[in-house]
């Protein structure tokens, strides 16, 4: 195996806009907001950035195509800007591009920025669009909740869990994220909720109700990366480095071959195994301090706990109900509120996850600061359970 990315690249600075229904801001303003914070944190000049990776998903209602929207919004010095798009995992892809550029020696300092402006469609939920000319001729014209909700029916059938027990467990997933989000001033949704509220909310896609679905938000997040040596030379303390970056992409097995039972993410298991290997993690349940996972829907988070090998197969319901992933649990999850409450501006979400891990590792997470975290994991998913891309990134204290 390749030597991997562990400790080759450090995070020099990060920024994140306020997420939410940003009626006041277009994509340009959101990008600038995240960028200025990251630049101030990094303490560098624009001319020191060698290259940039730019993530945005829905160009029709958002920023438009190509690298120019980023370069123009930030007035970058005519450097290389690569636009990346990988469904909802684009933010992690931008980070991966920038990290790889630094690791290769092609760039000393690189920028990754993700943005999404969703709230210009005139309706709730994600914008609808056509995926080419063939897929709309046969695939169901469903929605994200309808695709992810199917995990629940398959998980129940596989593990013989009752409708009521699973509904209550996924309700707890959301209650926990709302409690966390309430402590985060940048979060889209900052209000605690009760289990009963979740259980009684209007149905969106059976069995997912309103509170089982994440926020549809505008926002941007950015990271500036460099080598640990340059970071030190720039006077940085408490250096946070990248330990692993893995991406696994469906090849059609889940959607076309009967070996997949519909209750888990085939790609997540592959990406997680590779990431633990790359980071040198033997026992994730003990070694991972905290996680930001892709909780687009409560059921996604629940099954992901098993896909990341934190909960044993079939045991996520029990761990969730026991508070294992709560802020005061063994492995706090979605400590910033997650996609559920911080919000989910598609192209920015992977970077937003890394932002929280970075703040926590540096002890700068304010009211929601965890005690002495060493290893943070982000899990960023794109697509649907039957056909997706899954990114697992591990970051931690340099030397951890």
């Amino acid at each position: 195996m390749a030597s991997g990315i562990k400790d080759k690249v450090a995070i020099l600075g990060m920024g994140c806009s306020k997420f939410g229904e940003r009626w006041d801001a277009g994509p340009e303003e959101l990008m600038v907001e995240a960028y200025l914070e990251a630049m101030q944190d990094a303490g560098i000049e624009p001319t020191q950035i060698d290259a940039a990776w730019f993530s945005t998903h829905i160009d029709e209602t958002g920023t438009g195509k190509g690298g120019t929207p980023l370069s123009m919004a930030l007035r970058l010095p005519n450097i290389a800007v690569t636009r990346v798009e990988n469904f909802c995992a684009g933010g992690s892809e931008a980070l991966r591009g920038a990290v790889y550029a630094v690791a290769s020696g092609a760039a000393d300092i690189a920028l990754a920025l993700g943005v999404e402006k969703l709230k210009d469609t005139g309706y709730g939920g994600l914008p609808v669009g056509n995926a080419g000319t063939l897929i709309p001729q046969w695939a169901p014209s469903g929605s994200a909740p309808g695709n992810f909700a199917q995990l629940a029916s398959a998980y129940r059938a596989k593990h013989n869990v009752s409708k009521e027990d699973l509904k209550r467990a996924i309700a707890h997933v959301s209650v926990k994220s709302h409690a966390n989000g309430a402590l985060n001033p940048k979060a889209h949704l900052q209000k605690a909720i009760t289990e009963e509220q979740v259980m009684n909310a209007p149905m969106i896609a059976e069995p997912l109700g309103l509170f089982d679905c994440c926020g549809v938000s505008d926002g941007a997040a950015a990271a500036i990366v460099t080598t640990p040596e340059i970071a030190k030379a720039l006077g940085k303390k408490n250096i946070v480095t990248v330990k692993a970056m893995q991406l696994s992409v469906s090849n059609g097995l889940e959607s076309q071959h009967n070996s997949w039972d519909g209750s888990y993410f085939h790609t997540a298991r592959i990406a997680a195994k590779k990431a633990y290997l790359e980071a040198g993690i033997q026992n994730p349940r003990d070694e991972v301090s905290m996680m930001e996972v892709h909780d687009c829907f409560s059921i996604t988070e629940l099954v992901t706990m098993e896909d990341l090998f934190i909960s044993a197969e079939g045991q996520a319901v029990k761990d969730v109900m026991n508070g294992f992933y709560d802020a005061d649990g063994k492995v706090p999850c979605q400590i910033d509120g997650g996609l559920k409450c911080f919000g989910h501006p598609i192209g920015a979400s992977g970077l937003r996850m890394a932002y929280e891990m970075y703040l926590q590792l540096q002890g700068r997470a304010g009211a929601r600061q965890l005690k002495d975290p060493r290893i943070g994991l982000t899990h960023n998913l794109g697509g649907a359970p039957s056909q997706n891309v899954c990114s697992v990134t591990i970051i931690g204290a340099h030397g951890a």
Partner: protein, 502 residues
């Protein structure tokens, strides 16, 4: 009479699952049409939003043809309807593609008259008699469109029938027939109009049926050399009721009790399909070998055909037909749903419905057997089946290249692996049900569900596959078709065939 015995060799039928209760129509319209309150009895069949004359014809033909993969024997297809979805695109061609018939068949649309079904059947008989086809199939289907609060809305129904014509294993010999062509305009529908314009019923009854039908009957009996007294089954669609049919039979010298059920109580008049719908119903329910059947359809004159049932009739006993279809209905009391499905109200679909439904015809043609026939691939080396077909196999153990042969999924047994009822995405019948369908013999497809009884769906449930409208492109007048899964509830599973329904 022909030396060789020519006639019907099989039948199939389809009536949509929903049965709009006439009471619901009558009550909703009583404020403007109080006379309907007296007519508010029984039920009429009602196509789902994703059904049209073509999809219903496909269902009837599938019932006729059975689940055998090999349909290469079919060499002609005649489709009769006055509600074809396309004015210029061979509608029989769509049916042929959905049935995965061979490309070297003669496929013909027969339209523009209520006699379209019987005329299609007559053409099939003539073609086989002439030796130009050996195994012809005939489908007649109508999705009737009527104005709200019209008498026709009460009387009409949606449905389809299918018959095969040939010289082997004949279930009903063709003895002869005739057509009268008379430009008697009881109703008409202009080429740019959606609805019929109807003349006075009393005139249609007294000057039309009463005078034209007996003349046609007489001519047909002479042509077939059959005496009126030998006709045991008199199959004539009309909305004037079975008593009127009995009178017409009597006027023609046929026993009044030969008049067969017009299905007004539980189906409604299915337009150009109705004579064949009634014929299939009669063959299933009333006919014994050796008995003679007269089939008629009135409209711009009258078609008449005479058949004699053979002892092969029992070979069709496993067919759903019309009897089985009628036994599988679900009462619908929501008149607004009927209006909405039939495009009779402007309703708020929400912005999600604004999504462009344009169809790339190039893509459609490149993937024709996949999209129209639900044909996937089977690896000739490993036997792994998949949908869609691809150059490199999905088989995780061996990604063989260019080894796949076409593999038909439409008639295979399948179950639900995962599903959801989605209230967010746009649907003509919310909530939008869809999920992963897994086939017992391999392969899976994420697909739309239809004809769902809400609250009954779960993983592990059996489904059967149906050819339906996927999307309507209102902007361009096009419609996409694809296959959908119908969850089989325990109640519908109990009455799969006409036999069981009996």
């Amino acid at each position: 009479m022909a030396q060789q015995s020519i006639g019907l060799t099989g039948y199939g039928g389809y009536v949509p699952r929903l049965r709009l209760q006439r009471k619901a129509i009558a009550q909703a319209n009583a404020w403007v049409a109080p006379n309907f309150l007296g007519k508010g009895k029984g039920e009429r069949s009602m196509a789902n939003w994703d059904e049209d004359a073509v999809t219903m014809a496909v269902e009837a033909a599938r019932d006729l043809l059975g689940t055998d993969d090999d349909r290469s024997h079919v060499d002609a297809l005649f489709f009769g309807s006055t509600t074809m979805p396309f004015k210029d695109r061979l509608n029989a061609g769509i049916i042929s593609a959905a049935l995965t018939l061979g490309e070297n068949i003669r496929a013909v649309d027969v339209a523009s008259t209520q006699r379209a079904g019987t005329s299609a059947l007559m053409q099939a008989l003539t073609t086989v008699k002439a030796g130009e086809a050996k195994h012809a199939i005939v489908v007649a289907s109508d999705h009737r469109k009527t104005r709200a609060a019209s008498a026709q809305e009460m009387d009409f129904g949606d449905g389809a029938a299918a018959l095969s014509v040939g010289t082997e294993n004949v279930i009903a010999k063709y003895l002869g027939g005739t057509s009268l062509t008379i430009d008697f305009v009881d109703h008409f529908r202009g080429s740019t109009d959606d609805f019929d314009y109807n003349w006075e019923e009393r005139w249609i009854r007294d000057e039309g049926y009463t005078k034209i039908v007996p003349r046609a009957v007489k001519a047909a009996l002479t042509e077939a050399n059959v005496s009126a007294g030998d006709i045991k089954h008199f199959v004539l669609p009309t909305t004037f009721g079975v008593k009127f049919v009995q009178q017409l039979a009597k006027m023609s010298g046929i026993a009044p009790e030969a008049a067969r059920d017009t299905l007004d109580a539980n189906c409604g008049e299915t337009g150009a399909a109705h004579s064949l719908v009634m014929l299939v119903h009669t063959l299933q329910k009333d006919v014994k070998p050796g008995e003679k059947i007269m089939v008629l359809h009135f409209g711009g004159g009258c078609d008449v055909m005479i058949f004699e049932a053979t002892d092969k009739l029992s070979t069709q006993a496993d067919k759903r037909g019309i009897v089985g279809s009628l036994a599988q209905g679900t009462p619908e009391n929501n008149y607004m749903k009927f209006l909405t499905y039939n495009g009779l109200v402007e309703w708020e679909k929400g912005m999600r419905a604004e999504q462009d439904k344009k169809t790339a015809l190039t893509t459609l043609y490149r993937n024709e057997d996949m999209l129209m026939g639900l044909v996937g691939g089977r690896c000739t080396e490993t036997g792994v089946v998949q949908f869609p077909r691809s150059r490199i196999s999905v088989n995780p153990n061996r990604h063989t290249v260019d080894t796949q042969e076409p593999y038909k999924f439409a008639d295979r047994k399948a179950k639900i692996l995962s599903w959801s009822a989605d209230f967010l995405s746009f649907s003509m019948s919310p909530p939008n049900h869809y999920g992963m369908v897994v086939f017992d013999e391999g392969g899976r497809i994420m697909m739309d569900f239809t004809d769902v009884e809400q609250g009954t769906v779960d993983s592990g449930m059996e489904v059967r596959l149906v050819f339906r409208i996927k999307d309507v492109d209102e902007k361009r007048g096009f419609r996409k078709y694809f296959w959908k899964a119908v969850p089989v509830t325990s109640t519908s599973a109990n009455s799969k065939t006409g036999q069981a329904a009996e």
